[in-house]
């Protein structure tokens, strides 16, 4: 904020703005603390493997939200990063069975980041729908590559990935150990995204999203900023994919299919694009729906229900569930 003298109205506005931000930040910290508390005890009541699936997809959605909500870029090819993380990690851990699990996951994440760099360099210069279509096309090429490769197992998938030992001694075959590790990974990813958003870099990103020509005229290297957001998003998506592969001991073409790219868009939209909690909420709802609907009598209706939710979200809940809830809170508890 400049030090120029402001009139009392402006000063009042600034003060109110700051108070709101502090209140929001305090609220977020409370939510986060509550979340951690619940997450620590959840596996004793709910099936841990289901919770782990939720956390992996939540991380995926958070990473996607970073790109869409904060950098304003809609990618239709994020499945490629999820799959790359999964396949590379799966391959490394299967080939080098003595390797510590976190090294395998790191390998998958780095591979995803590298792929993200390639995609980003090719796509960043385009805008809007062209950007989305390039990412889709590139993801389809990646899908084809994985389908044809022998190391991925093609249609059968990469099976029998060992859970291994974390840091060489914590046995991840135990669901509880695995769960806490996955929780730690999620928290790490989430906090990383938060720090990024609230950093100076994050501010520039916000400026670019709100008014790109002005940002350019101010001298910011817009493409470099977007590229970094893309690579970060790709890396964290890869991390989600790597972790997921270790949890389920399986990496398959489902992760690379364009439907997966569509699913993460749904999760993010449903939860609330550009919100902090949105991706987690959206991912939880979609994963829960898919898991529990498909084994019940409503199984055949899963796609229809998801479609209806999509449509309703676009028509009415454009801010997503979290956005809608936030508005509700603001209206009623101001």
């Amino acid at each position: 904020m400049s030090e120029a003298i402001k009139n009392p109205v402006q000063q009042q506005r600034i003060r109110v703005e700051r108070e709101r931000r502090i209140a929001a930040s305090r609220r977020n910290k409370v939510f986060f603390a509550v979340f951690i508390a619940i997450a620590l005890v959840a596996p004793f009541g709910i099936y841990p493997v289901f919770l782990m699936k939720l956390l992996c997809f939540a991380l995926f959605a958070c990473a996607f939200n970073l790109l869409l909500g904060y950098a304003g870029l809609l990618s239709f090819g994020h499945a490629a990063f999820l799959a790359t993380g999964g396949y590379i990690t799966g391959f490394v851990l299967t080939e080098y069975s003595g390797l510590s699990t976190e090294v395998g996951i790191l390998a998958g994440t780095v591979a995803s980041a590298a792929l993200g760099l390639v995609f980003g360099l090719l796509a960043i210069r385009r805008q809007g729908i062209y950007f989305a279509m390039i990412t889709l096309a590139l993801a389809q090429l990646v899908f084809f590559m994985y389908m044809q490769s022998s190391f991925t197992g093609g249609e059968n998938g990469l099976q029998g990935v060992p859970r291994g030992h974390l840091f060489g001694f914590i046995d991840l075959a135990d669901n509880l150990n695995m769960y806490y590790f996955v929780l730690a990974v999620f928290v790490f990813g989430f906090l990383l995204i938060q720090r990024t958003i609230h950093s100076p870099y994050g501010q520039v990103l916000k400026a670019i999203r709100e008014n790109e020509p002005r940002a350019i005229s101010l001298g910011y290297n817009v493409n470099a900023h977007k590229l970094l957001a893309f690579v970060l998003s790709a890396a964290l998506t890869g991390l989600a994919g790597s972790t997921k592969t270790v949890v389920f001991q399986l990496a398959s073409l489902t992760d690379a299919h364009w439907h997966m790219s569509g699913e993460v868009i749904l999760m993010t939209l449903l939860g609330g694009v550009g919100t902090v909690l949105g991706p987690f909420v959206g991912a939880s709802i979609v994963v829960t729906l898919q898991t529990y609907l498909s084994s019940g009598p409503l199984g055949a209706w899963v796609h229809v229900i998801l479609g209806v939710i999509f449509v309703l979200c676009v028509l009415m809940f454009r801010a997503g569930i979290v956005g809608w809830a936030a508005k509700l809170i603001q209206k009623n508890f101001k």
Binding site: F44, G45, I46, Y47, V49, F50, K53, M147, G154, E155, N156, G157, Q159, G160, N175, F248, Q249, L250, S252, T254, D255, T291, S294, S295, G299, A300
Partner: protein, 403 residues
């Protein structure tokens, strides 16, 4: 909290039982999980019909084994290995399910097998086609009941070769299943004195087959073999019919053809098609009687997979009854000991590698004139004895056999 109490109870019970694991039925229930594609492209292969067949088996058995109730769970695997694997994992972790039945897409089956092997449960595979399940991927925790790619391609290829088809063109789906069928056909044709004059691998799945049919026509082959299944095979057959493939003198051989495929395509397109099947509803009084019962419940005639689900489930339950245990290895050993004699197979044997060897049947699709009712679709040309149809143990790469 209920989960916690159950978990503790299970731990205690398992601890108490571990000493006497042999002749006990865990949880005092036999729990069967039915996993198949219920809404996707393989729905009619096993799907909801297979679940009915499973229920029929349980009901015919009496609904309980030595006083212990039989409970059935079911889920849709959406043809995705991760969905299928998760479901089975959850069934075993939360419900201590004893045996998994159905199992269609090979990718799902392989993922499920890994889990079932880890947890020492049993999988009764009826839907999947891959012969590698009892070959390089065999395990002491699953059995393969109805058919496999080896038996199908062997049966059909041999038959067509012996009818005078020497030059072959193979149209294969470009994934593991198609590749393995292609390999099996090639082996049979070449050792039988024929030759492969051309082949093409189409992406899986493909929308338009005109280009591939044109290539088949251009190859000059006498026989065009379809090394694919489901929608791709149907599409290829229909396109072949439009391009007059059969009219110009080329013969079509379908490797993996199910009754529901022929039914949906209609006899106009499929008449004369040679195929191998593990079972057909209209073979004898026993098969007809069971098929009519099935038809009353489902509204369609059963395919070999449905019959296989019924047969494998009954065989399993009988083994449980005989041994008084639901311990996987005990029951599996009993299943291997006991020959299979039911409406599905006569003198069938379950081998150590998990392969259920039984007679296969060479069939030909009837012409519209020959067919007298909606489901009167095949004529059985001859029986192929089990030992001839399936891969012999001598050729096997199964780790359970190699000693």
């Amino acid at each position: 909290m209920k989960g916690l109490r159950k978990a503790i109870g299970l731990i205690v019970a398992t601890g108490l039982l571990s000493g006497t694991a042999q002749a006990e039925i865990s949880d005092n229930e036999i729990r069967i999980g039915y996993l198949a594609d219920m809404s996707g492209t393989y729905r009619d292969l096993s799907g909801p019909g297979g679940l009915e067949a499973l229920k029929m088996a349980v009901e015919d058995f009496g609904g309980q084994v030595n006083g212990k109730k039989i409970v059935i769970y079911n889920a849709d695997d959406l043809n995705k290995p991760d969905v299928g694997a998760n479901t089975v994992r959850q069934w075993i972790d939360e419900k201590n399910v004893d045996v998994i039945a159905g199992l269609v897409a090979t990718s799902v089956v392989m993922a499920v097998n890994k889990i079932v092997e880890q947890e020492n449960k049993l999988a009764l595979i009826s839907g999947s086609a891959s012969s590698s399940l009892t070959n390089e991927f065999c395990s002491p925790n699953h059995v393969h009941w109805v058919y496999d790619t080896y038996a199908l391609s062997n049966g059909t290829a041999h038959a067509v070769l012996s009818e005078g088809g020497k030059d072959w063109f193979i149209l294969a789906a470009d994934y593991a299943f198609g590749h393995s069928l292609e390999a099996d056909i090639t082996k049979v044709v070449e050792t039988g004195g024929g030759q492969i004059v051309g082949k093409v691998r189409h992406p899986f799945p493909s929308n338009d087959f005109s280009s591939y049919i044109l290539q088949a026509q251009g190859s000059g082959a006498e026989v065009v073999a379809l090394a694919n299944a489901g929608a791709d095979m149907v599409n290829a057959l229909q396109t072949a019919s439009q391009f007059g493939l059969a009219q110009s003198g080329q013969k079509l051989a379908g490797m993996v053809v199910f009754l529901n495929d022929v039914h949906s395509m209609g006899l106009d397109v499929t008449q004369g098609l040679m195929l191998t099947t593990g079972w057909y509803w209209d073979m004898n009084d026993e098969t007809r009687e069971w098929a009519q019962r099935y038809h009353k419940r489902v509204g369609r005639m059963p395919s070999m997979t449905h019959a296989g689900v019924y047969s494998s489930t009954l065989h399993y339950l009988n083994a449980v009854k005989e041994t008084g245990s639901d311990d996987t290895q005990v029951v599996r050993a009993k299943m291997i000991e006991t020959p299979i004699n039911d409406m599905f197979a006569k003198n069938g044997t379950l081998r150590e590698d998990g392969r259920m060897v039984h007679d296969m049947y060479l069939a030909q699709v009837k012409t519209p004139a020959e067919s007298t009712s909606e489901w009167d679709l095949y004529k059985i040309l001859r029986t192929i004895p089990g030992e001839q149809a399936y891969r012999s143990l001598a050729d096997s790469q199964c780790k359970l056999i190699k000693n």
